[in-house]
Symmetry: C2
Subunit: 296 residues, 2 copies
């Protein structure tokens, strides 16, 4: 099978490498062309544009930064995938974009009889390298069935959520849920510290009950240590939260917790913490409570 991979960033590059390892014929393209070279050493071939990459491919997998990038790469009438892909090609977009953008892209591709699955991922760069990503998919049953064996080469949990856009909705929900959970854990840890208990022992006392979460288990130590190694960047989560909040506004849903965390992340980014792990949300809770910098 010939797979074109477009977008060789932190996520796209290891995805391309894993597809190659999985036995696919891989063609790569990246806007900054130099990034293609490492993949060539692993047996991929290069293409000068998304159009050229898509020509002759069975599947096109895109992984770019945001909705406008995905629309440009896939739909540009001159250089986009749509200009090169044959009818019957399947496009799998692993970017995190708006559900509405995914639907627009799918409709434009469908007019050329090109299939589309939105397939945003979670699990970070480590998950991309180890092929253990969780992948949330939106598309028809047929398109999902075609996408699944490809996605199984780059991820572990591949779930068909519903029609086109539903993968992006699931990703947006994921980002909303973690936003509030990080904030809640940060408030709890700072309360422990300020009220006079050892936050580590408080965590040990509550982490296996109703307060249990992935965030508590995997990120509360960052908050206690006041060190925020990656992980998942604040600025990337803020971008994803913008998609979730825009979608919520369009459908008339107030999300006070997610909205609050978005403003906190804006503050962190403005103060130079945008490239820290999003557990840095604890910085704001600490600062508002006048908790001293450093381990708590």
């Amino acid at each position: 099978m010939k797979v074109a991979v477009i977008g060789l960033g932190t996520m796209g590059a290891p995805m391309a490498a894993n597809l190659r390892k999985g036995g696919c014929e891989v063609v790569v393209h990246n806007r900054t062309r130099g990034r293609e070279e490492a993949l060539v050493l692993q047996g991929a071939t290069r293409a000068a544009s998304p159009r050229e990459a898509a020509a002759g491919a069975d599947v096109v997998l895109s992984c770019v930064s945001d909705t406008p990038d995905a629309e440009a790469v896939l739909l540009d009438p001159k250089d986009g995938v749509i200009a090169g892909a044959a009818a019957g090609t399947l496009v799998i977009d692993c970017s995190t974009i708006s559900p509405a953008g995914a639907r627009r892209i799918a409709a434009a591709l469908a007019a050329r009889r090109i299939g589309f699955v939105d397939a945003p991922v979670s699990g970070g760069s480590e998950g991309a390298q180890k092929a253990t990503l969780a992948i949330m998919c939106g598309g028809t049953e047929d398109d999902f069935a075609r996408a699944k064996p490809v996605l199984e080469k780059i991820g572990k949990s591949i779930v068909h959520v519903g029609p086109v856009g539903c993968g992006q909705i699931a990703k947006a929900v994921n980002q909303v849920v973690i936003a509030g959970t990080y904030q809640a854990v940060a408030e709890g840890l700072c309360l422990a510290k300020k009220a006079g208990a050892d936050p580590a022992r408080v965590v040990a006392a509550i982490e296996n009950g109703a307060a249990a979460s992935w965030v508590m288990a995997n990120r509360s130590k960052n908050m206690r240590d006041d060190r925020y190694p990656l992980g998942f960047r604040v600025r990337l989560h803020r971008k994803d939260l913008a998609i979730a909040l825009d979608t919520a506004r369009q459908v008339g849903l107030p999300m006070p917790s997610a909205s609050y965390v978005a403003t906190i992340e804006d503050g962190l980014i403005a103060q130079g913490h945008g490239d820290e792990d999003m557990s840095a949300i604890a910085r704001a809770v600490r600062r508002n409570g006048n908790v001293a910098d450093g381990p708590m």
Copy 2:
């Protein structure tokens, strides 16, 4: 060992029964005396007051509703435990009260050479019945060491968090963390619904990743079904959150997420939902987003 159990509510009554099953000689007292009768059938003896219950007991275990109740039961100079307990007695208070209240009680008891451990629990009535409670303890090493074998008859995870008050701090932190987590999960589910995805399939796609939590695993179905069977009552969580928010105010810590959820719970209680499970927090998110009543 002779254990006096004071307060035979939803939690205290099964605790007394489990202490009896565990081989303790059990004396019971409850303000509404009729509740003592079921325990007498299980081999306990009755006492007419906390003072009388404490007389001759090795350990006094109290489980009442709030800080003023605990202070009255333990410190009343005429009828309280302090009037009946001999020097060397150990008081274990399983009520959820303020950390400051626990410290006041411990200081008053210490003046009579009576030991004290604050030992609030989580795990609900089911945990109390099955003796699987998680118990968060505050007290000296010596007092904790004496309390532990008693608590092992009523709970499963017995953690010494720190000095007196630290058990209550851990409980307050627990309630703060779950408050924000419920809100976050409710916002996420309503976003899924309003944006056009099946909330159950979205949960399936994200519940094992960074969005994983006890709340997601055990209570998101209530929110989807729009049915809120107990569980843990909204009004009891709101009472516990008042303790957490008062403590935070005293130590100068803003907790915006917990504060927001407290106002939402006030609204739910005013509207007659106080005796539902606290997953009913989803009612407010649903209503604000105009999500139709019933399963989503």
